[in-house]
Symmetry: C2
Subunit: 332 residues, 2 copies
């Protein structure tokens, strides 16, 4: 069934007045598309994790919301200037403008991922064995993906790439989403538990790590899924590159460092339970921080839609901001 569907990494779309998206709670067992017609239906899909909600940590959610607010704001100005339209026509006009802006955000997201992929692919030599953590793929974006977009672009450029996917406890996004996406694309992927990567690195079986980011501070510190930081430490120990692929909208210039990024504490039942069943001993408490912070000094390069920034830090990022562009290095 699922093989017959047209699936080109576009995981969310607008179709005949409704939001169309893949039900992520059914993956990897089934690919089912939901069609949502109301705000309440979308809210329910987020609450039930059918589509992964961006954590408060994800700064580009607010960036997108601000763009939409900007449209609404300009519409109010338009109304002041032309005070006589019927309220119904005014509403329709605003809806049209908001939809247009949303489609633009969506198209820009895919284009940014494609561009990021092309830049990042230059960092992956033919034959690379790449470690991933969590899911920074089509299912984490509108389509194509950030970290997985880089891998897809390298494969499209004819390179042989092999992926080791951290399963990513507690929610197993690496197992259920990343391994699923890559296997579906025919890219060789091997699943490992999060505690196996160190041993594989020590045996020389991994060439680099490549992850996404939820938020990047002005000094280059990276907030990403819990378990990202140990991957970066292990890369440093084994002198392997640690790459972060993220759109520029992930950069939060208001934060001096990663220490200012609040870490969401999620329900500990995600650790102690599997579905409705408790697997941990009764009475035992668990922690469940959603993210950790990787200090910029451990990041070999930041891959963005504007180019690759090696050794990201306050100075290089500030220079990029001032010059309106990043120094593009290592791009084939």
């Amino acid at each position: 069934m699922e093989e017959e569907m047209a699936f080109d990494w576009r995981t969310i779309d607008w179709h005949e007045g409704r939001v169309r998206l893949i039900d992520q709670t059914r993956l990897p067992d089934a690919v089912e598309w939901l069609e949502l017609g109301t705000v309440e239906e979308v809210a329910r899909a987020i609450e039930t994790m059918q589509v992964r909600p961006p954590p408060p940590t994800a700064v580009n959610l607010f960036w997108a919301l601000e763009r939409m607010e900007g449209v609404a704001e300009s519409f109010r100005e338009f109304r002041v200037r032309t005070p006589e339209p019927s309220s119904r026509a005014a509403l329709e006009a605003m809806k049209g403008r908001l939809l247009e802006e949303a489609r633009r955000v969506l198209a820009e997201d895919v284009a940014a991922n494609r561009q990021m992929g092309r830049f990042g692919a230059g960092l992956l030599p033919d034959g690379s064995r790449v470690l991933t953590h969590c899911n920074a793929g089509a299912l984490a974006t509108v389509g194509y993906g950030t970290a997985l977009g880089v891998i897809r672009a390298a494969v499209e450029a004819g390179k042989r790439i092999e992926v080791f996917a951290d399963e990513t406890r507690p929610r197993l996004q690496g197992m259920k989403l990343t391994a699923w996406e890559l296997h579906r694309d025919g890219i060789p992927v091997t699943l490992i538990t999060d505690n196996m990567a160190g041993s594989l690195m020590r045996q020389g079986k991994i060439d680099c790590a490549l992850v996404g980011a939820d938020r990047i501070a002005a000094n280059g510190d990276v907030a990403n899924k819990i378990g990202t930081y140990p991957v970066a430490v292990l890369c440093r120990e084994h002198r392997l590159p640690f790459y972060v692929a993220a759109p520029l909208s992930t950069l939060d210039w208001t934060l001096e460092s990663g220490d200012q990024i609040p870490i969401e504490a999620r329900d500990s039942a995600e650790v102690t339970h599997l579905g409705p069943h408790r697997i941990a001993p009764d009475g035992v408490e668990a922690l469940n921080p959603a993210f950790d912070i990787t200090p910029a000094r451990l990041v070999t390069a930041l891959i963005t839609e504007r180019g690759v920034l090696h050794h990201p830090c306050r100075e290089t990022l500030q220079r990029w901001k001032n010059e309106g562009g990043v120094r593009v290095q290592g791009v084939e």
Copy 2:
């Protein structure tokens, strides 16, 4: 129910001609004791993981078997010297000697763990927050435990100890056994997924790591449950002590280094399945190495029943072997 049982960390015993042990597949939901009367019943309990089988990696299994063989051997010599006993009486005599030796091994194991605990407790200051990985507790030994024995001894000495227990994928021994043992003892324990320890260390919430060992090479390299090595690397990164508690029978003088320790590759279904249910995407392969190797340079100290050996390496271990004892340091 379970609170009423006499449970003093003795998890396996010999009772009225039968082996008595805790069914580990029922933990943490229920504490059920099995009574096994035949070799076949014991073999079945090992196959079904009701009692954890020692991996080939565990050198002290062979050490114990050699002791039993030694008894059988001496019995054959006895028969040659006194050639006329009835064969039935001879058989009974041998059974008695074997049982006696088995009881001695059992008693020595508990005594060694108690001794190890007393030595190791000196390394844990009052208020220590200790990271554990896998289960090196009463359930991994005859009773009391190695790493958990050290924690128990520190608590018995009046120290406040708090434990963070790695859940230890894929089989979750940290969640199901370590957290259960400690919670039952009233020792504060918080469960974490394996990928959370790095972030906790970075936040200054962990003071040291304390693990067991399945096998230690002559140069001090340690084979232990997969995920131990990354813990050691993270300790080094954060300048935290990384302690290994293991009886001297764990030392394998025939191995030059950890590179010579064969790593058991277990069934990948332990990663891809939960019980009978596949949770990984169809067609995706997984790795499942049972152990990893932690190089001796990352081990702050080796805690044994003969004392604490700081900075274990080929030279210090060889000197211990030659002198018939370890240099005891840091013991209160």
